[in-house]
């Protein structure tokens, strides 16, 4: 589903003439198979978000290749990547990233609007998804009128609505209390089992990492124990 090959990335800091290159990721290769939940762990600042942003196409790698759903997305133009994103990738962010001036319903509906789905179909699908995440009663609430857990479920609904084969999540429980966190993790697990959606989840929290079939650890910009690293080994 996701294949990362020899990916390297540096950050450039400073202006011309006074540039500093900060090496970030070095020679990252791994694969996420269809139907898997893979978690990426590592200390804060280890480059987890950077890796996910590269896969999402928000930044472009210096070296290496990324394949999603067998499509090489490394060289896609911004426009092409946008079109690809809306069809194939769902996103869940730590800070939810809901549009505050839109209701829960409108936020969830947004990807369908962008895809050009007609209004009647949009309404039906959106209501179905809101029912799935248990928020149909809150559909006319604005993000500011929802709790953190509810907001994150709205954002999950928004990620789910286009039926993406894969969902990328950057610290999805980072803004939630532990009880809500457990609810959400359970919900992700159910989605994975019932709908076969592939998840790539980033976390710095071992308990969150536990829901993964596999865990990849980043250290100093490299995969600490690549491919072979299983859940058990990390726990040991």
């Amino acid at each position: 589903m996701i294949k990362v090959q020899s990916l390297s990335h540096d950050f450039e800091i400073g202006r011309k003439g006074n540039k500093t290159i900060i090496p970030m990721l070095r020679d990252i290769s791994f694969e996420v198979k269809q139907g898997e939940i893979v978690t990426i762990v590592g200390r804060s600042g280890s480059g987890k978000s950077t890796l996910l942003n590269l896969i999402s196409g928000f930044i472009h790698p210096k070296e290496g290749e990324i394949l999603i759903n067998n499509k090489n997305v490394t060289k896609l133009s911004e426009t092409k990547f946008a079109d690809f994103r809306i069809e194939h990738i769902g996103f869940i962010f730590q800070s939810f990233q809901l549009i505050p001036s839109m209701t829960a319903f409108q936020n969830v509906e947004l990807p369908l609007i962008l895809k050009g789905v007609n209004e009647a179909d949009r309404k039906k699908t959106t209501e179905e998804i809101l029912t799935t995440v248990g928020l149909i009663d809150y559909k006319d609430h604005y993000p500011g009128e929802l709790s953190g857990g509810q907001q994150q479920r709205v954002s999950i609904a928004r990620a789910l609505i286009v039926n993406p084969p894969v969902i990328l999540a950057d610290e999805p429980t980072g803004s939630l209390d532990s009880e809500t966190e457990q609810e959400l993790l359970q919900f992700i697990k159910n989605l994975n089992m019932e709908l076969g959606i592939t998840f790539l989840i980033i976390t710095h929290d071992q308990r969150v990492a536990e829901i993964g079939n596999r865990t990849i650890e980043l250290r100093d910009g490299r995969i600490y124990s690549p491919e072979l690293s299983t859940k058990q080994e990390v726990l040991l």
């Binding site: 928000f58 946008a82 996103f91 962008l114």
Partner: protein
């Protein structure tokens, strides 16, 4: 993303910033109204002047003053010229008149009048549209035709200075000639200075017919048409061509080259308005000096085209100034919505869609502004046309020509304004829209913009 959804998006966005959007639309509307009203003065005056020009004259009429024969001087037209003119394509009639070179004094009983007297070619006059309101065409040598208003010019010789005219300058009823003129005998008095003395000769003429009422109310037709024979009789008495009067002091006869084979007044009538230009060109080719409404209209049109273009240009500057407002509004809208745009881009909004939404918003502002401006300018135009004549009248006590239009908004003017406004708003919205597409997803999501 469907256009309809983009449109709903834009409307929602505009609602969020109602005041700012309203002010921008207001500025655009004012600029558009300014452009339209300004240019409408050019259009209005142009229309009024065209109306004046075409109403005062018969539009198919071409005056031919003379012919140039290579020496730069114009000579009067002769029978030969008339024949040539009549043979031109699209010429309906060539009216030619020879004027009597003295004031025609006419009398019937106690009533008398002075009238411009002509010898004319009646068949051509009729072809050109001359009609009688009473009587018949002359058959005998001493028969004449008088203009429709000739009767009104007859004044009783008993008229006294003090009550001859009322305060409006209208002749007192009791001094007016009341009877019918057709078939009546008039006395024409020819005059000449002979040996320092003024001699007179009465010639009797009979009114055969009266011309039709001129189509324009303010035109007076008091002319008299006499026959060639009557003219000869007058010439026999005066001893000069066309009854020209000698200088009372010299006594001697003046020699002039005027004879009975030239015409002072020659008017060519084209078959229709479209043919006028062609006939005028032919006349020019053949070295005739001519003048027609069409040639005058051509000049008027050219001047006013320049004037109108200038006014529209000035108005466009106003729209350009208003476009700064649109640029500002759009830039602020992009900045304010940067986090939302970032989120939309993250979940897969196409940069082109985002650009379109902002362009749609700026052109929406521009179009609404232009439409409001158009409506307002119609109101202003109406008010101007209503108020300015009143103001001028009360300030200067002068009556303006009827139907004078200060401001006229033809359909094309709002159209021009809307097109200009649309182009300008698209241009001013382009940069902000471009900026929106360049928003960095990660920065926007971290609320760094």
């Amino acid at each position: 993303m469907k256009l309809k959804d983009q449109f709903l998006f834009v409307q929602q966005n505009m609602k969020k910033n109602r005041t700012r959007v309203f002010m921008t639309i207001l500025a655009t509307a004012m600029a558009c109204a300014f452009l339209i009203v300004l240019a409408s003065v050019g259009f209005g005056l142009h229309k009024s002047i065209i109306k004046e020009t075409t109403e005062q004259r018969i539009v198919t009429q071409i005056d031919v003053h003379g012919k140039e024969e290579g020496d730069g001087a114009y000579r009067p037209l002769t029978e030969k010229d008339i024949e040539a003119l009549e043979n031109l394509d699209n010429v309906k009639a060539v009216v030619r008149r020879q004027a009597l070179f003295q004031e025609g004094s006419y009398k019937i009983g106690e009533y008398g009048s002075w009238a411009q007297t002509y010898v004319t070619h009646i068949p051509s006059e009729i072809k050109a549209g001359f009609e009688l309101s009473a009587g018949a065409l002359p058959e005998k040598e001493n028969e004449i035709i008088v203009g429709y208003d000739f009767a009104n010019s007859l004044v009783s010789e008993n008229a006294k200075e003090e009550d001859m005219y009322d305060e409006k300058g209208v002749l007192n009823e009791k001094y007016k000639y009341q009877g019918d003129l057709v078939g009546k005998e008039l006395t024409f008095t020819a005059k000449q200075w002979i040996d320092g003395e003024e001699k007179k000769k009465d010639i009797s003429v009979i009114v055969a017919g009266i011309g039709k009422k001129p189509t324009r109310e303010w035109v007076m037709d008091q002319n008299v048409f006499i026959s060639q024979e009557t003219l000869k009789e007058i010439e026999a008495f005066t001893g000069t061509p066309r009854g020209m009067m000698n200088d009372p002091n010299s006594g001697a006869q003046q020699v002039t080259d005027t004879d009975n084979h030239t015409f002072e007044e020659v008017k060519v009538y084209a078959r229709n308005l479209e043919a006028v230009e062609g006939v005028t060109e032919k006349l020019e080719e053949q070295n005739y000096a001519s003048y027609s409404v069409v040639s005058e209209l051509k000049q008027i049109n050219m001047i006013f085209t320049i004037v109108k273009a200038g006014l529209i240009l000035i108005g466009t500057i106003a729209i350009l100034i208003a476009s700064i407002g649109i640029y500002n509004t759009m830039t602020m809208a992009v900045t304010e919505r940067a986090p939302d745009i970032g989120i939309m881009k993250a979940i897969g909004a196409n940069p082109r869609t985002i650009k379109n939404i902002f362009l749609l918003e700026s052109s929406y502002i521009g179009l609404i502004g232009a439409l409001i401006g158009t409506v307002v300018s119609y109101v202003i135009s109406f008010a101007v046309n209503f108020a300015i004549p009143m103001i001028i009248q009360s300030a200067f006590g002068e009556e303006l020509p009827e139907g004078l239009m200060f401001s006229h908004i033809p359909f094309i003017l709002p159209l021009i304004c809307i097109i200009i406004c649309y182009i300008v708003t698209i241009l001013s919205g382009l940069r902000p829209a471009q900026r929106a597409t360049k928003i960095d997803v990660l920065k926007a999501m971290r609320r760094e913009i």
